[in-house]
Symmetry: C2
Subunit: 236 residues, 2 copies
């Protein structure tokens, strides 16, 4: 992992601890990414065994959140970090909250795979899967930007989220039409709608992580600012 | 505000800073609580002016999140807190994330108040409002428990959330029946459904805050644990 941007410390042990935290966040990200991929596999093939495996696997994501947070608190108390070291800890503890919620989204998607589906719901699942693959690519790029602490990439990913939002809106319209044409399908379609919503939220979570990356690199909190202001901060 | 449980510091200035942080979080909570109450007022009376006021007011909630987080980072860097002081900072920074998201839920509810409604959608709005008032009481109790750093109250609120979940499930069933009986109503009803979902999430956010309160008081991270384990930790 690229270590150039981390401050050099007199204490090699402190360096090792920060490096360890970074590795653990990326490992958690990797796990969540696999959960997301597999939840989409489960949904597209209606594979209930795989779906159950994902739901059971969520406790590992939760466990990583708790243990990384614990380590962050330990480092603050012991090492009294300042400047970019402190920002790394803050970025980490905020990032893992969003990763954990992406894990919850995977559970939501997996649950949709457990429902009985009629054949004519297949086109809906194809749309959801396509949107889900889009969200998976966004998550992958986000984790990449996090590994390299790349503010430019983070800004780009943030900007691109609007496409996922548009895809989501299209799916909602499609689901509405579907329900209006066949009201008996409503309970099943609503379940697909929750999965779509969960996927859309994955994009929002990635945007949050991108904001933390920019905060780490630039020292500016860009949450709740316009894209233009964010761009200025990244280019400054 | 009860200050007994805060450690006594040689530095009176540090004490004042921690006290200030606590006050600011509670002020943010108060603002969010008003936003929630008013968003329900707007929904029940379909008052579009009030709804717009809530949507515009969200930037104040966002601003408080950013400024409190900034102050927390400043305190960590300057004061190098440990033990319960550090837990107070961690509890604060996590709590305000959830408060900000409750603010977003208020915007979602207010947006539902901007939609044109037919007369026969009125019963749906009554159910939503009732659930919303329930969530407001939960938020109020949560902020109370936070002000007093009362782990027992936090545990009780956590346990009670199941009632809000049950109310939510009932509303979802009601909305489904409604859509099945009158498919033309689907777009409008879906909008109510998003509001219901937002209210249900307010309960989840309150549960999160209760977990942070227990973490502060007991020094145990009770996220992702069973209610029984949480009870043991609180009573220990």
């Amino acid at each position: 992992m690229d270590n150039i941007s981390l401050n050099k410390h007199i204490s090699g042990q402190f360096n090792a601890e920060l490096e360890d935290i970074r590795n653990r966040v990326l490992a958690m990200g990797g796990l969540v990414e696999r959960q997301l991929e597999q939840s989409l596999d489960a949904l597209s093939s209606l594979d209930s065994n795989l779906a159950k495996k994902i739901i059971e696997g969520d406790h590992r994501v939760n466990g990583m959140e708790v243990s990384i947070d614990e380590e962050c608190a330990r480092i603050i108390a012991k090492r009294q970090p300042t400047a970019s070291d402190l920002r790394l800890i803050i970025t980490t503890t905020k990032t893992i909250t969003d990763l954990e919620r992406i894990g919850d989204a995977c559970v939501r998607i997996a649950k949709s795979a457990l429902e009985k589906r009629t054949n004519n719901q297949q086109p809906l699942l194809v749309s959801i899967e396509s949107m889900g693959r889009h969200a998976t690519r966004t998550l992958h790029s986000t984790l990449d930007a996090l590994a390299r602490m790349d503010a430019d990439a983070a800004l780009e990913i943030h900007k691109e989220d609007v496409k996922l939002d548009k895809e989501y809106e299209g799916i909602i319209r499609q689901l509405m039409t579907y329900m209006m044409e066949d009201p008996r399908s409503i309970p099943g379609v609503l379940d697909v709608l929750w999965a779509a919503r969960a996927i859309e939220r994955v994009g929002d979570r990635c945007k949050n992580i991108c904001e933390y990356i920019i905060y780490y690199v630039k020292g500016k909190d860009v949450r709740h600012t316009s894209y233009e202001d964010m761009e200025k901060d990244v280019q400054s």
